[in-house]
């Protein structure tokens, strides 16, 4: 029996992002579509950044998770358009990022406040942080450095 797509979305929501494991690939907004094409399950995945080295690991993790649930005919499709945007990050994902110490993306172009002490006195250190999707910021109150998930 074929599981319905809602069930599959829930399974995929348990697949962690390889670089930020507190959020799932569904939270990240990179799973664009899940459809049955006859007996084949097609999952459309969009890359975050063109050169993101995690892309192939994400594909592998998605496929492994679905096989572990007993699915055998899986087709992963790379979907470029429309390009990924941080607007697709789920509210649950944003809250988890913050609890993990990464300031979630904000349309203002910078973090609302320090994810550790909530002070609004923060400054940018560098537009690029530990991964392409993050910038490096610093809190002027607690003096801790932190990552900010860039808005793109």
């Amino acid at each position: 029996m074929k599981p319905d797509t809602d069930t599959i979305w829930a399974w995929l929501d348990e697949v962690p992002d390889p670089e930020i494991p507190v959020i799932s690939v569904v939270d990240l907004g990179i799973i664009r579509d899940v459809v049955w094409d006859g007996d084949v399950l097609e999952v459309a995945i969009t890359p975050t950044y063109s050169g993101c080295p995690a892309t192939s690991i994400i594909n592998l993790d998605v496929e492994t998770a679905l096989r572990a649930r007993g699915l055998e005919n899986i087709r992963l499709k790379r979907q470029l358009s429309p390009p990924w945007t941080t607007d697709w990050l789920s509210a649950k994902g944003a809250a988890r990022l913050e609890a993990y110490g990464i300031a979630p993306p904000s349309p203002a172009g910078g973090p609302k406040h320090c994810p550790r002490c909530q002070s609004a006195a923060v400054e940018k250190v560098s537009q690029f942080g530990s991964t392409p999707c993050k910038a490096h910021w610093r809190c002027l109150s607690c003096l801790e450095p932190f990552d900010y998930f860039k808005c793109i």
């Binding site: 050169g51 993101c52 470029l80 358009s81 392409p132 490096h136």
Partner: protein, 251 residues
Amino acid sequence: MSAALFEMLLRLGDNTLVLGHRVSEWCGKAPVLEEDIALANTALDLIGQTQMWLGYAAEVEGKGRSADDLAMRRDVWDFRNILMLERPNLDFGHTMMRQFLFDAFHRAQLAALAQSSNPRVAEIAAKAVKEATYHLDRSAETVVALGDGTEVSHAKMQTALDLLWPYVGEMFESDDVDAQMAAEGIAPDPDGLRAAWEATVRDTLSEATLTVPQDNFAHKGGRTGARHTEHLGHMLTQMQWLQRAYPDATW
């Protein structure tokens, strides 16, 4: 296959490949850690864009080659990047000035390509223009900080600009390939991008207290493959070393 489309895709993919490789040469030895990370991430974006352009080029060619084959198994005369991007990095200031001059062009080019009549070109460009936009934010910011910085940093940035200026003209050169692509609505005529580029570049350079050279002489030949500088061959000996020493190696 469309020979002009293949040629255009090589020009796009070779620009990002060659610059991406050059920028990656800083990995592990940039002036400060933040710059090291920023340069490595920029290189990563450019190599990612290369995979998309050359991947599509290989499909258009239809001879069973892959993006990797195109990147790693062509020699100097088959590369179609502009000469400016194959120049050695020299110092950090020269690297960032080259990045800025290219980013300003690249963003304008990709924004126009995102409107392409060819859906594959449009979707790749729509993805890449987001990255080119923050590349430009950063390189412009750095050019201003160093140009309007200390006496030493100012002098180095002026030297870099003087060295690079004779290479910018090639970005706006047009030939039959460009004319065909423009006529089919696939790509903008490069010459049409010059005015917007000049405006961005002159504003930033003036803020950086740098003097734009008067001479508009342009070194050419990279994007047509007529002639490259001696630097590209040396770069390829590094970039393609593994594929040349161990053809068909997999791991």
